[in-house]
């Protein structure tokens, strides 16, 4: 029977074509109308260390989360099979290179010794000799269907057929993998051509040799290896998809939202956003130039936020993007933005800390950094996105809020979202508006302009160039000149601070937090950011098991939807509320306590740097319900 949902893991050394496999497969699948979500795990390394793609394809939705076990484990190298031998379902498929069968675990130099020991122990427990061939035999004995291919001979054939130079051959390993997967799930030649054409649009000469290999392998696999995992035809109605990472979703949101100045200092996992903006710096529609985005790579993050603020003072929609260590450097600038009511957006991609921590892995442990960094008190808005579409829309919204209220806005994301790729519909701009707030370019008496007029909470803002104004990090009067007068201080500081009340009164709580599911469920999960997808998927699985789980998704970390959240928890009872977060401390519980007085004591956390997978979240929820456990620490994944 055709399948509606297939999960696969494709692994290999970093820098040897995984990106191509991912790109080609996603394009070919999208071409057939499927919804795809894929995540990428990699070390802080350019070439050689183990990396993998976890991909999920569905015929009836865009998948919201990733999960194990996978139906297909496709290995570019022996390390992948050793690392992920427990990740493949017992009725799944293993695609591997028979040429590497003699490889012993202890000869894999790219593997960390601790990882090796852990795998060695596992194999020992199962009585498996640590040699690839033996491991494959073992997996086969467990029911895994083994697709052994001789990568080298397949590629040699290509060499004869297409005259590819011997040293270039290994680059085509990706098409062997693509072909094997195509053979298993039933992608035809046309789809493969579509996938490769998309990938190699700028290097068309590579399309045919790659299609040739992939089709050959696909034919071989589909004829030789018994019943396969054929995907049913897509039921999704989309006529076109955009294939984007989280980074790109934010960048596209910024383009629509009018960012025309973006400064940044390179840092993982934020840099791809600025890279994308730079590669689309000329905003053109046919022959017409609609504008341009000036992307400035600065000397450090301190300069990045300072330059963005300078551009904002001159009237540009300006933003910067960074990760934890970079954001720390931006803290003094953020405080200046708060004092000077500068509309600025800082896109903040969290990764594993503290310090450089796990620079290429994900986390949600910077919630309080985003909320409280910077000295002194000042209003700020912190928005966290739960998926690709939210990320795109929130980027537009963050820019609007920054200008409407003249406050710094922090747009909080995480590595999981940043680096995962999803098929989304083309963004519909008809539902989006740009609100520039009280931006004025006509000032009656430009030499006597009060930038910080106390007449209103949000003063009319004339950019530099239209009137004479002063800005200072010191407390200031209505003109912007330094003052230390106690009475004026009270007025000016209160004016700034009271904006938070204004914002809270104008943006409905229902917009700042959303409840998914029943109002009185068996268990209420509460989370934010990329936790959203996995909780919603887990809730559906739990429903089938007779467990009713709801999800309270917090989108605005500041201003917090205190009443809505308080009510939602109150109805279910704090004992039946569980915080879910990629951190040790489940910070959201503390934020809820601060804002509602309700102390959540149950939590499901994961801080391995890998995302929470659906299957482990389902297990964790059941454990909490069945055994009354208060804290479950998840650790699945390689």
């Amino acid at each position: 029977m055709p399948l509606s949902d297939v999960k696969m893991l494709i692994g290999g050394p970093q820098g040897t074509g995984l990106e191509t496999v991912s790109h080609v497969l996603i394009a070919a699948l999208a071409y057939n109308g499927y919804g795809v979500l894929s995540g990428r795990e990699y070390h802080s390394n350019i070439k050689g260390r183990h990396s993998y793609i976890l991909l999920r394809v569905s015929s009836h939705e865009v998948p919201k989360s990733l999960t194990y076990p996978v139906d297909i484990l496709a290995a570019m190298d022996p390390e992948t099979v050793f690392t992920h031998c427990a990740d493949v379902s017992h009725s799944g498929f293993l695609v591997y290179d028979v040429g590497g069968e003699d490889t012993r675990l202890d000869k894999i130099v790219s593997m960390e010794s601790y990882t090796r020991q852990r795998i060695e122990k596992r194999l020992q427990r199962e009585g498996v000799e640590p040699v690839l061939g033996k491991l494959v035999e073992y997996l086969e004995s467990k029911g895994v269907k083994v697709v052994g291919l001789d990568y080298r001979s397949i590629l040699s054939e290509l060499r004869e057929r297409h005259g590819i130079a011997p040293h270039m051959l290994s680059r085509f390993t990706s098409s062997v993998i693509v072909g094997a997967i195509a053979g298993l799930i039933g992608l035809d030649e046309e789809s493969l051509r579509a996938g490769f054409s998309h990938r190699f649009a700028a290097r068309k000469q590579l399309v045919e040799p790659n299609v040739y290999i992939a089709v050959k392998v696909a034919e071989h696999v589909s004829s030789k290896f018994g019943p396969r995992l054929i995907l049913e035809e897509s039921m999704l109605q989309h006529e076109e998809y955009m294939v984007v990472s989280g980074n790109e979703a934010v960048a596209i949101g910024k383009i629509i939202g009018g960012v025309r100045f973006q400064s940044y200092y390179p840092i993982t996992p934020a840099q791809d956003e600025s890279f994308f903006l730079e590669s689309h710096e000329k905003l053109t529609d046919g022959n017409r130039q609609l504008g341009s985005v000036l992307v400035l790579q600065t000397e450090d993050e301190i300069a990045a936020i300072a330059a963005a603020m300078g551009a904002a003072l001159a009237g540009t929609r300006a933003a910067t993007a960074t990760s934890g260590p970079g954001f720390d450097l931006m803290a003094e600038g953020l405080s200046w933005a708060g004092m000077n009511e500068v509309p600025i957006v800082v896109t903040y991609y969290q990764r594993g800390g503290p310090s450089t921590g796990m620079p290429t892995r994900g986390a949600q442990s910077d919630l309080f950094t985003a909320l409280f960094s910077g000295h002194g008190e000042f209003p700020r808005v912190v928005i966290a996105s739960g998926d690709h579409l939210e990320a795109l829309n929130d980027a537009v919204e963050a820019l609007n809020i920054a200008e409407r209220y003249q406050v710094p806005v922090i747009h909080l994301l995480d590595k999981f979202l940043a680096n995962s790729i999803a098929t989304i519909p083309i963004p519909d701009t008809s539902s989006m508006t740009i609100d520039r707030g009280k931006l004025v370019t006509r000032v009656e008496a430009p030499l006597n302009y009060k930038r910080f007029s106390l007449d209103e909470l949000v003063s009319p803002r004339a950019p530099l160039g239209y009137a004479v104004s002063w800005y200072t990090g010191d407390e200031h009067d209505e003109y912007g000149h330094i003052t230390e007068d106690p009475v004026l201080r009270v007025k000016m500081h209160s004016k700034r601070m009271r904006k938070m009340e204004l914002i809270a009164s104008e943006i409905p709580e229902e917009h700042r937090a959303q409840l998914y599911g029943y109002t009185e469920p068996d268990l209420l999960l509460i989370g934010w950011g990329s936790v959203k997808g996995v909780v919603l998927d887990a809730a559906r699985i739990l429903e089938k098991k007779g467990v009713r789980v709801s999800y309270l998704h917090i989108r605005y970390m500041s201003p917090f939807a205190s009443k809505l959240v308080g009510k939602a928890i109150g109805r279910v009872g704090v004992d039946r509320t569980v915080a879910v977060e990629h951190s040790y401390e489940a910070h959201i519980s503390k934020l809820v306590a601060m804002n509602t007085g309700q102390r959540i004591t149950k939590e499901i956390v994961k801080f391995t740097g890998r995302p929470i997978y659906t299957h482990e979240l389902v297990d964790a929820v059941l454990r909490i319900l069945d055994t009354g456990e208060k804290r479950v620490v998840l650790d699945y994944g390689a």
């Binding site: 999208a30 109308g33 076109e240 000329k282 053109t284 529609d285 001159a314 537009v396 002063w470």
Partner: protein
Amino acid sequence: MERSPTDYRTGLWVDWCPGCGNYGILAALTQALAELGLDPAKTVIVSGIGCSGKTPHYVRVNGVHTLHGRAIPFATGVKLANPELTVIVEGGDGDLLGIGAGHFVALGRRNVDMTVIMHDNQVYGLTKGQASPTLPYGVQTKGLAKPNIQGMLNPVLLALASGYTFVARALATDVKHLKQLIKQAVKHRGAAFIDVLQPCPTYNNVYTAQFYRKTVYRLDEDPDWDPVVRDPSQEHSKKMAAMAKAHEWEPRIPVGVFYHNPLVPSFEERLQSRLGNYLEEPPARQTIVSGSDGTPVVNTESLRRMLGAKVITVRRSKRAKPVIAPMP
């Protein structure tokens, strides 16, 4: 419109110490602004922290008094967002060369069209006289408990090495000369730097006004001194000559223009060649909303064409020909 230096004063009480070199800088600055006839609304003074940081409050043009060491990146953002603005940075030696040294170097590399005026008094005045990066090794000024244990950074050499295309030094008490240099620097298209020797009467009892009066000499007194690069082939020799001059300190300290290279493309010109519309429509001047209803200028249709490489059209049936969105 004829403007006088007093038109460029805010009338706020200037709270620098009596005898401070900053008064000379302020006078030279307002005179230069008046003689250049700059529109106050289109002129921006960006400063960092410290005594020099207060300068914008005394001048009636836009003033942005920023964070310690960060005046240059702020100014860079302002200028690049709207290149029509005249941007002047006022910073101290500690501000620009201590905490802000990375930014100082970066401005040279970019050659953004702006002027950096460094108030060089060799001490941190507002925090009671600690040694700044321009105080020579072994010197003990009034506020120091021990002789300076760190070496001196040569600001003129650093500016030359970083790529500033106009590099000069002046004495704060010679208002007329400083004014001339500021005018030249503002008119120069590219990153201009003026190291202003600024006596601090409160904390620096070594490099005093009297000391400078005795040691300073004018580069333009030498009829053969020509710092201007008129042809790319002169770039190397003129820079080497400037560096040699910059090495002079005691017993005689040169002031004037060390190096002036108008041939290097400014950052704005580089952006123009990359973005196409930059100078006509810089970031701050771009329309991002179409009409009055807040509709974004970049809409679904233009996005689809602009990001064609990201778009995949789903095939209608398995018999249909592949339809792949074209690359832009």
